[in-house]
Symmetry: C2
Subunit: 282 residues, 2 copies
Protein backbone atom coordinates (compact mmCIF):
# COMPACT_ATOMS: atom_id res chain seq x y z
CA UNK A 1 0.00 0.00 0.00
CA UNK A 2 1.24 3.42 -0.98
CA UNK A 3 0.70 6.42 1.28
CA UNK A 4 0.25 9.67 -0.65
CA UNK A 5 0.15 12.94 1.22
CA UNK A 6 0.39 15.65 -1.43
CA UNK A 7 -2.36 16.69 -3.82
CA UNK A 8 0.11 17.05 -6.66
CA UNK A 9 1.33 13.48 -6.31
CA UNK A 10 -2.20 12.09 -6.05
CA UNK A 11 -3.27 14.02 -9.19
CA UNK A 12 -0.36 12.73 -11.18
CA UNK A 13 -0.93 9.13 -10.07
CA UNK A 14 -4.63 9.23 -10.98
CA UNK A 15 -3.83 10.87 -14.30
CA UNK A 16 -1.45 8.02 -15.17
CA UNK A 17 -3.93 5.38 -14.01
CA UNK A 18 -6.69 6.85 -16.17
CA UNK A 19 -4.41 7.05 -19.19
CA UNK A 20 -3.58 3.39 -18.60
CA UNK A 21 -7.28 2.50 -18.70
CA UNK A 22 -7.46 1.51 -15.02
CA UNK A 23 -10.72 1.80 -13.09
CA UNK A 24 -10.20 3.90 -9.95
CA UNK A 25 -12.42 3.37 -6.90
CA UNK A 26 -12.47 5.91 -4.07
CA UNK A 27 -13.69 5.40 -0.52
CA UNK A 28 -13.65 8.81 1.22
CA UNK A 29 -13.30 8.57 5.00
CA UNK A 30 -12.45 10.57 8.11
CA UNK A 31 -10.47 7.64 9.51
CA UNK A 32 -10.82 5.78 12.82
CA UNK A 33 -11.93 2.76 10.84
CA UNK A 34 -14.55 0.33 12.05
CA UNK A 35 -16.03 -2.63 10.19
CA UNK A 36 -18.39 -0.29 8.34
CA UNK A 37 -15.42 1.41 6.68
CA UNK A 38 -13.80 -1.94 5.99
CA UNK A 39 -16.95 -3.20 4.25
CA UNK A 40 -16.82 -0.16 1.93
CA UNK A 41 -13.19 -0.92 1.17
CA UNK A 42 -13.97 -4.60 0.56
CA UNK A 43 -16.66 -3.61 -1.93
CA UNK A 44 -14.25 -1.15 -3.55
CA UNK A 45 -11.63 -3.86 -3.84
CA UNK A 46 -14.06 -5.90 -5.93
CA UNK A 47 -15.22 -3.11 -8.20
CA UNK A 48 -12.09 -1.61 -9.68
CA UNK A 49 -8.44 -1.98 -10.54
CA UNK A 50 -7.09 0.52 -8.06
CA UNK A 51 -8.60 1.17 -4.64
CA UNK A 52 -7.92 4.59 -3.14
CA UNK A 53 -9.03 5.41 0.41
CA UNK A 54 -8.85 9.04 1.47
CA UNK A 55 -8.40 9.84 5.14
CA UNK A 56 -9.08 13.45 6.06
CA UNK A 57 -10.96 14.82 9.07
CA UNK A 58 -12.69 17.62 7.19
CA UNK A 59 -13.14 20.75 9.31
CA UNK A 60 -15.71 22.41 7.04
CA UNK A 61 -18.33 19.76 7.76
CA UNK A 62 -18.21 20.30 11.53
CA UNK A 63 -20.26 23.14 13.00
CA UNK A 64 -19.23 25.44 15.80
CA UNK A 65 -19.25 23.58 19.10
CA UNK A 66 -19.19 20.19 17.35
CA UNK A 67 -16.49 17.57 17.91
CA UNK A 68 -13.89 18.48 15.25
CA UNK A 69 -11.02 18.92 17.70
CA UNK A 70 -11.75 15.73 19.61
CA UNK A 71 -12.87 13.57 16.65
CA UNK A 72 -11.07 10.25 17.21
CA UNK A 73 -7.84 9.73 15.24
CA UNK A 74 -5.51 6.72 15.15
CA UNK A 75 -3.41 6.79 12.01
CA UNK A 76 -1.18 3.79 12.66
CA UNK A 77 -4.16 1.54 13.39
CA UNK A 78 -6.02 2.89 10.32
CA UNK A 79 -2.95 2.28 8.19
CA UNK A 80 -2.67 -1.38 9.10
CA UNK A 81 -6.43 -1.95 8.76
CA UNK A 82 -6.38 -0.38 5.28
CA UNK A 83 -3.36 -2.43 4.28
CA UNK A 84 -5.05 -5.60 5.53
CA UNK A 85 -8.16 -4.83 3.45
CA UNK A 86 -6.26 -4.57 0.18
CA UNK A 87 -6.19 -0.80 -0.22
CA UNK A 88 -3.72 0.30 -2.92
CA UNK A 89 -3.37 3.96 -2.05
CA UNK A 90 -4.10 5.68 1.25
CA UNK A 91 -4.46 9.39 0.43
CA UNK A 92 -3.86 11.52 3.52
CA UNK A 93 -3.80 15.19 2.51
CA UNK A 94 -2.81 17.91 4.95
CA UNK A 95 -5.13 20.64 6.13
CA UNK A 96 -2.77 23.28 4.71
CA UNK A 97 -3.09 21.82 1.23
CA UNK A 98 -6.83 21.18 1.36
CA UNK A 99 -7.75 24.58 2.77
CA UNK A 100 -4.87 26.99 2.12
CA UNK A 101 -5.06 30.59 3.32
CA UNK A 102 -7.61 32.51 1.27
CA UNK A 103 -9.74 29.41 0.63
CA UNK A 104 -13.29 30.55 -0.24
CA UNK A 105 -15.04 28.18 -2.67
CA UNK A 106 -17.97 25.99 -1.67
CA UNK A 107 -20.26 23.54 -3.43
CA UNK A 108 -23.79 23.52 -2.17
CA UNK A 109 -26.79 21.32 -2.90
CA UNK A 110 -29.66 23.51 -1.87
CA UNK A 111 -33.12 22.11 -1.09
CA UNK A 112 -32.00 18.59 -0.14
CA UNK A 113 -29.79 19.98 2.62
CA UNK A 114 -32.39 22.16 4.32
CA UNK A 115 -34.19 19.43 6.27
CA UNK A 116 -33.26 16.54 8.60
CA UNK A 117 -29.51 16.69 9.37
CA UNK A 118 -29.28 20.04 7.60
CA UNK A 119 -31.77 21.61 9.99
CA UNK A 120 -29.61 20.69 12.99
CA UNK A 121 -26.23 21.10 11.28
CA UNK A 122 -26.77 24.01 8.88
CA UNK A 123 -23.23 24.12 7.38
CA UNK A 124 -22.58 20.37 7.51
CA UNK A 125 -23.53 19.32 3.97
CA UNK A 126 -21.85 22.32 2.41
CA UNK A 127 -18.64 21.05 3.97
CA UNK A 128 -19.30 17.49 2.82
CA UNK A 129 -20.09 18.36 -0.80
CA UNK A 130 -17.13 20.74 -0.99
CA UNK A 131 -14.60 18.22 0.27
CA UNK A 132 -16.07 15.42 -1.85
CA UNK A 133 -15.90 17.64 -4.96
CA UNK A 134 -12.25 18.36 -4.14
CA UNK A 135 -11.46 14.67 -3.57
CA UNK A 136 -13.19 13.72 -6.83
CA UNK A 137 -11.12 16.30 -8.73
CA UNK A 138 -7.89 15.09 -7.14
CA UNK A 139 -8.44 11.31 -7.24
CA UNK A 140 -10.60 11.27 -10.42
CA UNK A 141 -12.39 8.06 -9.45
CA UNK A 142 -14.72 6.19 -11.77
CA UNK A 143 -16.60 4.86 -8.74
CA UNK A 144 -17.00 6.17 -5.18
CA UNK A 145 -18.45 4.26 -2.27
CA UNK A 146 -20.33 5.68 0.71
CA UNK A 147 -22.17 4.11 3.63
CA UNK A 148 -25.94 4.31 3.94
CA UNK A 149 -25.74 5.32 7.59
CA UNK A 150 -25.38 8.94 6.45
CA UNK A 151 -28.34 8.38 4.18
CA UNK A 152 -29.05 12.02 3.47
CA UNK A 153 -25.36 12.54 2.67
CA UNK A 154 -25.57 9.76 0.09
CA UNK A 155 -28.62 11.33 -1.56
CA UNK A 156 -26.99 14.79 -1.51
CA UNK A 157 -23.79 13.47 -3.10
CA UNK A 158 -25.70 11.62 -5.82
CA UNK A 159 -27.53 14.84 -6.60
CA UNK A 160 -24.32 16.90 -6.71
CA UNK A 161 -22.66 14.40 -9.04
CA UNK A 162 -25.66 14.47 -11.36
CA UNK A 163 -26.12 18.27 -11.29
CA UNK A 164 -22.44 19.08 -11.81
CA UNK A 165 -21.89 16.30 -14.39
CA UNK A 166 -19.08 14.80 -12.34
CA UNK A 167 -19.26 11.44 -14.07
CA UNK A 168 -18.59 9.39 -10.94
CA UNK A 169 -20.68 6.32 -10.18
CA UNK A 170 -21.89 6.52 -6.57
CA UNK A 171 -22.49 3.30 -4.65
CA UNK A 172 -24.22 3.13 -1.28
CA UNK A 173 -23.50 0.25 1.09
CA UNK A 174 -25.79 -1.04 3.86
CA UNK A 175 -25.25 -0.02 7.48
CA UNK A 176 -23.12 -2.40 9.53
CA UNK A 177 -24.28 -2.96 13.09
CA UNK A 178 -22.75 -4.21 16.31
CA UNK A 179 -24.00 -7.64 17.48
CA UNK A 180 -26.67 -5.95 19.58
CA UNK A 181 -27.87 -3.83 16.65
CA UNK A 182 -26.24 -0.44 17.33
CA UNK A 183 -25.18 1.13 14.03
CA UNK A 184 -21.39 1.24 13.80
CA UNK A 185 -19.94 4.73 14.20
CA UNK A 186 -16.59 6.22 15.09
CA UNK A 187 -18.52 8.19 17.68
CA UNK A 188 -19.80 5.09 19.57
CA UNK A 189 -16.57 5.01 21.55
CA UNK A 190 -17.62 8.23 23.32
CA UNK A 191 -20.52 6.37 24.99
CA UNK A 192 -20.40 5.29 28.64
CA UNK A 193 -21.68 1.74 29.31
CA UNK A 194 -25.07 3.10 30.42
CA UNK A 195 -25.34 5.37 27.40
CA UNK A 196 -24.33 2.45 25.20
CA UNK A 197 -27.35 0.55 26.51
CA UNK A 198 -29.69 3.52 26.14
CA UNK A 199 -28.47 4.03 22.55
CA UNK A 200 -29.89 0.63 21.60
CA UNK A 201 -33.35 2.19 21.71
CA UNK A 202 -32.52 3.86 18.37
CA UNK A 203 -32.18 0.57 16.55
CA UNK A 204 -35.09 -0.95 18.48
CA UNK A 205 -37.32 1.93 17.46
CA UNK A 206 -36.40 1.47 13.79
CA UNK A 207 -37.09 -2.26 14.03
CA UNK A 208 -40.50 -1.33 15.40
CA UNK A 209 -41.01 0.97 12.40
CA UNK A 210 -40.03 -1.80 10.03
CA UNK A 211 -42.45 -4.26 11.67
CA UNK A 212 -45.29 -1.75 11.43
CA UNK A 213 -44.48 -1.16 7.76
CA UNK A 214 -44.33 -4.88 7.04
CA UNK A 215 -47.66 -5.42 8.76
CA UNK A 216 -49.24 -2.89 6.41
CA UNK A 217 -48.96 0.51 8.10
CA UNK A 218 -48.43 3.17 5.40
CA UNK A 219 -49.08 6.35 7.39
CA UNK A 220 -45.75 8.07 8.18
CA UNK A 221 -47.20 9.99 11.14
CA UNK A 222 -48.31 6.84 12.95
CA UNK A 223 -44.98 5.09 12.39
CA UNK A 224 -43.01 8.14 13.56
CA UNK A 225 -45.12 8.40 16.73
CA UNK A 226 -44.45 4.73 17.53
CA UNK A 227 -40.73 5.23 16.99
CA UNK A 228 -40.64 8.23 19.29
CA UNK A 229 -42.47 6.31 22.01
CA UNK A 230 -39.79 3.58 21.95
CA UNK A 231 -36.96 6.11 22.26
CA UNK A 232 -38.59 8.39 24.80
CA UNK A 233 -38.64 5.61 27.37
CA UNK A 234 -34.88 6.19 27.70
CA UNK A 235 -34.33 9.27 29.85
CA UNK A 236 -30.82 9.89 28.57
CA UNK A 237 -31.83 10.04 24.90
CA UNK A 238 -33.14 13.25 23.31
CA UNK A 239 -34.49 13.12 19.78
CA UNK A 240 -33.38 15.71 17.19
CA UNK A 241 -35.72 14.35 14.53
CA UNK A 242 -37.47 11.24 13.27
CA UNK A 243 -38.56 11.59 9.64
CA UNK A 244 -40.00 9.41 6.89
CA UNK A 245 -39.22 10.66 3.39
CA UNK A 246 -39.02 9.59 -0.22
CA UNK A 247 -35.79 7.61 -0.46
CA UNK A 248 -34.63 9.27 -3.69
CA UNK A 249 -35.70 12.90 -3.36
CA UNK A 250 -36.03 13.13 0.45
CA UNK A 251 -39.34 14.86 -0.10
CA UNK A 252 -42.01 14.56 2.57
CA UNK A 253 -44.69 12.00 1.82
CA UNK A 254 -48.30 11.65 2.92
CA UNK A 255 -48.46 7.91 2.39
CA UNK A 256 -45.63 5.42 1.94
CA UNK A 257 -45.97 3.85 -1.49
CA UNK A 258 -43.36 1.40 -2.72
CA UNK A 259 -40.45 2.57 -0.57
CA UNK A 260 -39.28 5.24 1.84
CA UNK A 261 -36.51 5.99 4.28
CA UNK A 262 -37.04 6.45 8.01
CA UNK A 263 -34.14 8.37 9.48
CA UNK A 264 -33.46 9.73 12.93
CA UNK A 265 -30.89 11.62 14.95
CA UNK A 266 -30.67 11.73 18.72
CA UNK A 267 -28.31 12.76 21.45
CA UNK A 268 -27.31 10.16 24.00
CA UNK A 269 -25.77 12.31 26.70
CA UNK A 270 -23.60 14.57 24.59
CA UNK A 271 -23.04 12.04 21.82
CA UNK A 272 -25.08 12.66 18.69
CA UNK A 273 -25.97 9.49 16.77
CA UNK A 274 -27.85 8.89 13.52
CA UNK A 275 -29.51 5.78 12.16
CA UNK A 276 -32.02 4.79 9.49
CA UNK A 277 -33.84 1.94 7.84
CA UNK A 278 -35.20 1.64 4.33
CA UNK A 279 -38.86 0.73 4.36
CA UNK A 280 -39.62 -1.51 1.42
CA UNK A 281 -41.33 -4.78 0.72
CA UNK A 282 -39.48 -7.98 -0.02
Amino acid sequence: MEIVSTIREMCSISDELRKGGKTIVLVPTMGYFHEGHLSLMGEGRKRGDVLVVSLFVNPTQFGEGEDYEVYPRDFSRDKSLAEGTGVDILFVPTMEEMYPEGYQTFVEVERLTESMEGRFRPTHFRGVTTVVAKLFNIVRPHIAIFGEKDFQQLVVIRWMVEDLNMGVEIIGMPILRERDGLAMSSRNQYLTPDQRKAALSLNHSLQKAFQLFRSGERNPRRIIDAVKRVIEVEGEVTIDYVEIRDARTLEEIEIIEDQAIIALAAKVGKVRLIDNVILREG
Copy 2:
Protein backbone atom coordinates in the same frame (compact mmCIF):
# COMPACT_ATOMS: atom_id res chain seq x y z
CA MET B 1 -15.97 20.93 -37.25
CA GLU B 2 -18.17 18.63 -35.23
CA ILE B 3 -21.30 19.92 -33.50
CA VAL B 4 -22.04 18.10 -30.26
CA SER B 5 -25.31 18.75 -28.48
CA THR B 6 -25.58 16.06 -25.79
CA ILE B 7 -23.60 15.94 -22.58
CA ARG B 8 -23.14 12.21 -22.85
CA GLU B 9 -21.54 12.45 -26.29
CA MET B 10 -19.26 15.30 -25.21
CA CYS B 11 -18.14 13.33 -22.13
CA SER B 12 -17.33 10.26 -24.15
CA ILE B 13 -15.39 12.27 -26.75
CA SER B 14 -13.31 14.05 -24.11
CA ASP B 15 -12.67 10.78 -22.31
CA GLU B 16 -11.30 9.23 -25.51
CA LEU B 17 -9.20 12.30 -26.29
CA ARG B 18 -7.65 12.24 -22.82
CA LYS B 19 -6.93 8.54 -23.05
CA GLY B 20 -5.24 9.24 -26.37
CA GLY B 21 -2.99 11.81 -24.71
CA LYS B 22 -4.50 14.79 -26.56
CA THR B 23 -4.46 18.27 -24.99
CA ILE B 24 -7.99 19.67 -24.88
CA VAL B 25 -8.55 23.45 -24.91
CA LEU B 26 -11.95 24.91 -24.02
CA VAL B 27 -13.25 28.38 -24.82
CA PRO B 28 -16.58 28.79 -22.98
CA THR B 29 -18.90 31.34 -24.63
CA MET B 30 -22.49 32.53 -24.73
CA GLY B 31 -22.27 32.89 -28.52
CA TYR B 32 -22.94 35.91 -30.76
CA PHE B 33 -19.27 35.94 -31.57
CA HIS B 34 -17.25 39.11 -32.11
CA GLU B 35 -13.53 39.44 -32.70
CA GLY B 36 -12.90 39.12 -28.97
CA HIS B 37 -14.28 35.57 -29.02
CA LEU B 38 -12.36 34.78 -32.18
CA SER B 39 -9.11 35.91 -30.57
CA LEU B 40 -9.73 33.48 -27.69
CA MET B 41 -10.34 30.70 -30.21
CA GLY B 42 -7.21 31.65 -32.16
CA GLU B 43 -5.17 31.41 -28.97
CA GLY B 44 -6.82 28.09 -28.13
CA ARG B 45 -5.99 26.76 -31.58
CA LYS B 46 -2.29 27.36 -30.86
CA ARG B 47 -2.27 25.86 -27.39
CA GLY B 48 -3.70 22.37 -27.74
CA ASP B 49 -4.52 19.45 -29.95
CA VAL B 50 -8.28 19.76 -29.82
CA LEU B 51 -10.15 23.06 -29.58
CA VAL B 52 -13.62 22.88 -28.05
CA VAL B 53 -15.86 25.96 -27.98
CA SER B 54 -18.98 25.76 -25.85
CA LEU B 55 -21.96 27.91 -26.76
CA PHE B 56 -24.61 28.19 -24.07
CA VAL B 57 -26.54 31.25 -22.94
CA ASN B 58 -26.46 30.41 -19.26
CA PRO B 59 -29.63 31.51 -17.43
CA THR B 60 -28.21 31.18 -13.91
CA GLN B 61 -25.77 34.04 -14.44
CA PHE B 62 -28.48 36.52 -15.38
CA GLY B 63 -30.34 38.28 -12.58
CA GLU B 64 -34.03 39.07 -12.51
CA GLY B 65 -34.82 41.88 -14.92
CA GLU B 66 -31.55 41.38 -16.80
CA ASP B 67 -31.34 40.59 -20.52
CA TYR B 68 -31.43 36.78 -20.58
CA GLU B 69 -34.49 36.53 -22.84
CA VAL B 70 -33.23 39.13 -25.31
CA TYR B 71 -29.52 38.23 -25.19
CA PRO B 72 -28.46 38.19 -28.86
CA ARG B 73 -28.31 34.79 -30.55
CA ASP B 74 -27.29 33.86 -34.11
CA PHE B 75 -26.32 30.22 -34.31
CA SER B 76 -25.71 29.91 -38.04
CA ARG B 77 -23.38 32.94 -38.06
CA ASP B 78 -21.57 31.63 -34.93
CA LYS B 79 -21.20 28.23 -36.54
CA SER B 80 -19.48 29.55 -39.63
CA LEU B 81 -17.26 31.91 -37.61
CA ALA B 82 -16.17 29.01 -35.37
CA GLU B 83 -15.53 26.78 -38.35
CA GLY B 84 -13.46 29.51 -40.00
CA THR B 85 -11.36 29.91 -36.86
CA GLY B 86 -10.35 26.26 -36.74
CA VAL B 87 -12.63 25.06 -33.95
CA ASP B 88 -12.75 21.25 -33.77
CA ILE B 89 -15.86 20.80 -31.66
CA LEU B 90 -18.70 23.24 -31.08
CA PHE B 91 -20.48 22.04 -27.93
CA VAL B 92 -24.04 23.37 -27.80
CA PRO B 93 -25.85 21.75 -24.87
CA THR B 94 -29.57 22.23 -24.37
CA MET B 95 -31.09 23.98 -21.38
CA GLU B 96 -32.99 20.79 -20.45
CA GLU B 97 -29.76 18.84 -20.14
CA MET B 98 -27.78 21.55 -18.35
CA TYR B 99 -30.48 22.39 -15.80
CA PRO B 100 -32.92 19.48 -15.63
CA GLU B 101 -35.94 19.62 -13.36
CA GLY B 102 -34.85 19.39 -9.73
CA TYR B 103 -31.49 21.05 -10.42
CA GLN B 104 -30.17 22.52 -7.15
CA THR B 105 -26.35 22.46 -6.96
CA PHE B 106 -24.24 25.63 -7.07
CA VAL B 107 -20.55 26.44 -6.83
CA GLU B 108 -19.78 29.68 -5.09
CA VAL B 109 -16.57 31.63 -4.58
CA GLU B 110 -17.41 33.76 -1.60
CA ARG B 111 -15.44 36.92 -0.75
CA LEU B 112 -14.21 37.68 -4.27
CA THR B 113 -17.78 37.89 -5.54
CA GLU B 114 -19.11 40.32 -2.97
CA SER B 115 -17.73 43.52 -4.48
CA MET B 116 -17.66 45.24 -7.88
CA GLU B 117 -19.87 43.27 -10.33
CA GLY B 118 -21.07 41.07 -7.48
CA ARG B 119 -22.48 44.08 -5.62
CA PHE B 120 -24.68 45.02 -8.59
CA ARG B 121 -25.38 41.47 -9.81
CA PRO B 122 -25.57 39.42 -6.60
CA THR B 123 -26.27 36.00 -8.18
CA HIS B 124 -24.17 36.51 -11.32
CA PHE B 125 -20.90 34.87 -10.31
CA ARG B 126 -22.64 31.95 -8.67
CA GLY B 127 -24.17 31.24 -12.08
CA VAL B 128 -20.83 31.68 -13.83
CA THR B 129 -18.84 29.41 -11.52
CA THR B 130 -21.57 26.78 -11.57
CA VAL B 131 -21.79 26.59 -15.35
CA VAL B 132 -18.00 26.69 -15.75
CA ALA B 133 -17.64 23.84 -13.22
CA LYS B 134 -20.20 21.84 -15.22
CA LEU B 135 -18.47 22.58 -18.53
CA PHE B 136 -15.08 21.61 -17.07
CA ASN B 137 -16.52 18.30 -15.85
CA ILE B 138 -18.11 17.58 -19.23
CA VAL B 139 -15.31 18.75 -21.55
CA ARG B 140 -12.40 17.90 -19.19
CA PRO B 141 -10.10 20.53 -20.72
CA HIS B 142 -6.43 20.83 -19.85
CA ILE B 143 -6.60 24.55 -20.67
CA ALA B 144 -9.47 27.04 -20.68
CA ILE B 145 -9.36 30.53 -22.14
CA PHE B 146 -11.30 33.57 -20.96
CA GLY B 147 -11.26 37.24 -21.93
CA GLU B 148 -9.95 39.91 -19.58
CA LYS B 149 -12.95 42.15 -20.20
CA ASP B 150 -14.77 40.27 -17.44
CA PHE B 151 -11.72 40.74 -15.27
CA GLN B 152 -13.38 39.85 -11.99
CA GLN B 153 -14.84 36.71 -13.61
CA LEU B 154 -11.33 35.65 -14.62
CA VAL B 155 -10.04 36.12 -11.07
CA VAL B 156 -13.04 34.28 -9.61
CA ILE B 157 -12.60 31.34 -11.99
CA ARG B 158 -8.88 31.08 -11.24
CA TRP B 159 -9.72 30.98 -7.53
CA MET B 160 -12.40 28.32 -7.99
CA VAL B 161 -10.05 26.13 -10.03
CA GLU B 162 -7.37 26.44 -7.35
CA ASP B 163 -9.71 25.90 -4.38
CA LEU B 164 -11.54 22.91 -5.88
CA ASN B 165 -8.35 21.36 -7.35
CA MET B 166 -9.84 21.31 -10.83
CA GLY B 167 -6.49 20.96 -12.55
CA VAL B 168 -7.37 23.25 -15.47
CA GLU B 169 -4.89 25.88 -16.64
CA ILE B 170 -6.72 29.21 -16.96
CA ILE B 171 -5.51 31.71 -19.55
CA GLY B 172 -6.72 35.31 -19.73
CA MET B 173 -6.58 37.19 -23.03
CA PRO B 174 -6.43 40.98 -23.46
CA ILE B 175 -9.56 42.98 -24.28
CA LEU B 176 -10.17 43.60 -27.97
CA ARG B 177 -11.50 47.05 -28.85
CA GLU B 178 -13.31 48.61 -31.78
CA ARG B 179 -11.24 51.06 -33.86
CA ASP B 180 -12.48 53.95 -31.70
CA GLY B 181 -11.55 52.15 -28.47
CA LEU B 182 -14.90 50.77 -27.25
CA ALA B 183 -14.37 47.35 -25.67
CA MET B 184 -15.95 44.66 -27.83
CA SER B 185 -19.12 43.19 -26.37
CA SER B 186 -22.11 41.25 -27.65
CA ARG B 187 -24.16 43.96 -25.93
CA ASN B 188 -22.72 46.84 -27.99
CA GLN B 189 -25.29 46.14 -30.68
CA TYR B 190 -28.03 47.36 -28.32
CA LEU B 191 -26.59 50.90 -28.43
CA THR B 192 -28.18 53.68 -30.52
CA PRO B 193 -25.68 55.80 -32.50
CA ASP B 194 -25.79 58.54 -29.82
CA GLN B 195 -25.31 56.02 -27.01
CA ARG B 196 -22.46 54.46 -28.99
CA LYS B 197 -20.71 57.83 -28.93
CA ALA B 198 -21.43 58.44 -25.26
CA ALA B 199 -20.08 54.94 -24.43
CA LEU B 200 -16.65 55.99 -25.68
CA SER B 201 -16.24 57.98 -22.48
CA LEU B 202 -15.64 54.67 -20.67
CA ASN B 203 -12.51 53.91 -22.64
CA HIS B 204 -11.43 57.57 -22.58
CA SER B 205 -11.74 57.65 -18.81
CA LEU B 206 -9.59 54.52 -18.49
CA GLN B 207 -6.99 56.02 -20.82
CA LYS B 208 -6.95 59.04 -18.52
CA ALA B 209 -6.40 56.70 -15.55
CA PHE B 210 -3.55 55.01 -17.35
CA GLN B 211 -1.88 58.34 -18.17
CA LEU B 212 -2.15 59.48 -14.55
CA PHE B 213 -0.63 56.19 -13.38
CA ARG B 214 2.21 56.41 -15.91
CA SER B 215 2.94 59.97 -14.83
CA GLY B 216 3.40 58.74 -11.26
CA GLU B 217 0.01 58.98 -9.58
CA ARG B 218 -0.33 56.09 -7.09
CA ASN B 219 -3.35 57.20 -5.10
CA PRO B 220 -6.42 55.16 -6.17
CA ARG B 221 -8.86 57.79 -4.90
CA ARG B 222 -7.42 60.55 -7.07
CA ILE B 223 -7.37 58.35 -10.18
CA ILE B 224 -10.96 57.19 -9.59
CA ASP B 225 -12.13 60.80 -9.18
CA ALA B 226 -10.51 61.77 -12.47
CA VAL B 227 -12.15 58.79 -14.21
CA LYS B 228 -15.56 59.71 -12.89
CA ARG B 229 -15.17 63.30 -14.05
CA VAL B 230 -14.52 62.11 -17.62
CA ILE B 231 -17.60 59.89 -17.64
CA GLU B 232 -19.95 62.24 -15.87
CA VAL B 233 -19.69 64.76 -18.71
CA GLU B 234 -21.91 62.35 -20.69
CA GLY B 235 -25.48 62.84 -19.55
CA GLU B 236 -26.64 59.45 -20.80
CA VAL B 237 -24.03 57.46 -18.86
CA THR B 238 -24.60 56.45 -15.22
CA ILE B 239 -21.76 54.84 -13.31
CA ASP B 240 -22.35 51.66 -11.27
CA TYR B 241 -18.80 51.63 -9.92
CA VAL B 242 -15.22 52.60 -10.66
CA GLU B 243 -12.73 50.65 -8.53
CA ILE B 244 -9.00 50.14 -8.29
CA ARG B 245 -8.00 46.85 -6.73
CA ASP B 246 -5.17 44.39 -6.40
CA ALA B 247 -5.13 42.52 -9.72
CA ARG B 248 -4.75 39.07 -8.15
CA THR B 249 -6.87 39.18 -5.00
CA LEU B 250 -9.23 42.06 -5.91
CA GLU B 251 -8.58 43.46 -2.47
CA GLU B 252 -8.86 47.19 -1.92
CA ILE B 253 -5.54 49.02 -1.87
CA GLU B 254 -4.42 52.27 -0.29
CA ILE B 255 -1.56 52.86 -2.70
CA ILE B 256 -0.87 51.25 -6.05
CA GLU B 257 2.42 49.40 -5.82
CA ASP B 258 3.64 47.33 -8.78
CA GLN B 259 0.28 46.68 -10.43
CA ALA B 260 -3.46 47.03 -10.04
CA ILE B 261 -6.66 46.78 -12.02
CA ILE B 262 -9.02 49.68 -12.61
CA ALA B 263 -12.46 48.34 -13.50
CA LEU B 264 -15.76 50.05 -14.10
CA ALA B 265 -19.36 49.35 -14.98
CA ALA B 266 -21.84 51.88 -16.29
CA LYS B 267 -25.22 52.04 -17.92
CA VAL B 268 -25.51 53.81 -21.23
CA GLY B 269 -29.26 54.24 -21.53
CA LYS B 270 -30.41 50.75 -20.53
CA VAL B 271 -27.27 48.98 -21.78
CA ARG B 272 -24.85 47.96 -19.04
CA LEU B 273 -21.22 47.90 -20.12
CA ILE B 274 -18.00 46.98 -18.32
CA ASP B 275 -14.40 47.81 -19.08
CA ASN B 276 -11.02 47.79 -17.37
CA VAL B 277 -7.33 48.50 -17.75
CA ILE B 278 -4.39 46.96 -15.96
CA LEU B 279 -2.22 49.61 -14.37
CA ARG B 280 1.38 48.51 -14.53
CA GLU B 281 4.72 49.92 -15.59
CA GLY B 282 6.52 48.94 -18.81
